[in-house]
Symmetry: C2
DNA sequence: GCGAATTTTTAGGCGCACCTAAAAGTGCCA
DNA sequence: TGGCACTTTTAGGTGCGCCTAAAAATTCGC
């Protein structure tokens, strides 16, 4: 007859996933290019109003995660950086798991990871990490921060900033645009593919030569067009 | 120089996970025992104030998921039942996955599933379901609703309601109390274990005899004490 | 069948993460 | 150096899911 136990079920639904997304986005902006992260930039990236950024900036500042002074760009504190890397670690391990074990293709994983990164426990994250053998790169070539917070950074060059004739290995491709990922996969372009820049035109886009999987295909594989926006989504290894 | 794309990142954090938990809890109350689900009962189970239940009841009623009339018990509409089963399907498949593939023990999975049940996509749920071979029972013996919404129900008897001398197979053990699960596992009691009720005392608890894994151990295995609350957490198959 | 105890609903608030509109600050450049 | 465009902050407001306290309805014991 006992009432079914007042189970303290209120595991708060989603903790502070909004805050986590702000931290992650601030970190992201400094990860590859490093322009100052102003409220307007952050607002545009996150799809919120600038005033929302100001509000959150104050909260994160009060929590010691963000350095905020009115009218100045936002930066992460050491603690904020650590937290951001934690979220990114989750995101990328989840993406890797989805591709390696759950039959997802690389263009399908971003949105799922965007949600799960806030829900998964440390325990489960560790289990995934172990199963995958502690990977250091996600399916898009992004480095996976290690559990202790260190990140392997490889210097890279945006395709849009490479001179004609430059060649290098694809290091990383932004996972934000699924259709780009789909078309690049079709063209055989993935992290570790070797490319060379054949032509570039700010408006039209680029043409790259894709080296075959084997080195034998010496003087070049197929020519592939890459849109202008694709050019700002592909990083190649910086020439030595 | 382009601003980093106004990605419509607002995948709403957690959809309506609160609503899902209400539906699930209402369903739960009718799944094993069927007392009327009043606001006070629901409030106690969910750990919220009764007034919160009334409010949510109105919302769910407006959404066509719950039948609500002031001062009457809540019931689920057909649509509400379907939704509840969907959440429960997610919950139990996640639990099964955690135990079968991720190295969790059965007493550790409930809380993780409580969160993930609201975050996982249909796509991922299907992938998990396939990997596991479309299981029909979770680690605690609870039936997993199928994708089309049907549920296999096996008539069962609460240990606390079984007469002395009754024996039967454990069909299901509530997953709400991890410490109970831990001690039952230590005593070798799991779904499909055969038990017989040796003694019962409403206040002290119960003593059950656990049959060995093999039938050979005919006239009985070890005697195990079960607390009073444990008695309301273990279901055994109803005698034929 | 009536009053008291209990349950349920209503009323009014709170924090969160968002918004729009208005005010204030910054910085460029004529 | 002053004006003006642009950015940022402030002010005030919304919906959600929760709360407490008070009011209303129901139920139960006599
Ligand atoms: Mn996210
Ligand atoms: Mn990625
Ligand atoms: Mn839940
Ligand atoms: Mn279970």
């Amino acid at each position: 007859m006992s009432i079914p136990e007042p189970v303290a079920r209120r595991t708060q639904p989603n903790a502070d996933s909004a805050a986590e997304d702000y931290l992650k986005t601030i970190y992201h902006h400094t990860e590859w290019q490093s322009a100052p992260v102003t409220p307007s930039v952050l607002a545009a990236t996150m799809g919120v109003a600038p005033s929302s950024v100001t509000e959150m900036a104050k909260k994160l500042s009060a929590a010691g995660l963000v350095n905020y002074e009115p009218y100045k760009p936002l930066t992460l504190t050491a603690e904020g950086t650590a937290r951001a890397r934690g979220v990114i670690r989750r995101h990328r391990l989840i993406e890797t798991w989805l591709v390696d074990e759950m039959g997802y293709d690389w263009h399908e994983v971003h949105d799922e990871a965007e949600v799960l990164e806030h829900s998964i426990s440390d325990r489960l994250l560790d289990a995934i990490d172990s199963r995958l053998g502690h990977p250091t790169r996600d399916p898009h070539g992004d480095p996976i921060p290690s559990a202790d917070g260190s990140v392997e950074s490889s210097p890279a060059l945006l395709l849009s900033q490479a001179a004609i004739g430059t060649s290098g290995m694809v290091v990383r491709i932004s996972d934000r645009d699924p259709s780009l990922l789909l078309s690049l996969a079709a063209a055989g372009i993935r992290p570790s593919t070797t490319l060379s820049v054949v032509s570039r035109d700010a408006s039209t886009g680029f043409i790259v030569r894709v080296a075959g999987a084997t080195e034998s295909d010496a003087d070049g594989g197929p020519l592939v067009p890459v849109s202008a926006s694709g050019g700002s989504s592909i990083w190649i290894s910086a020439p030595a």
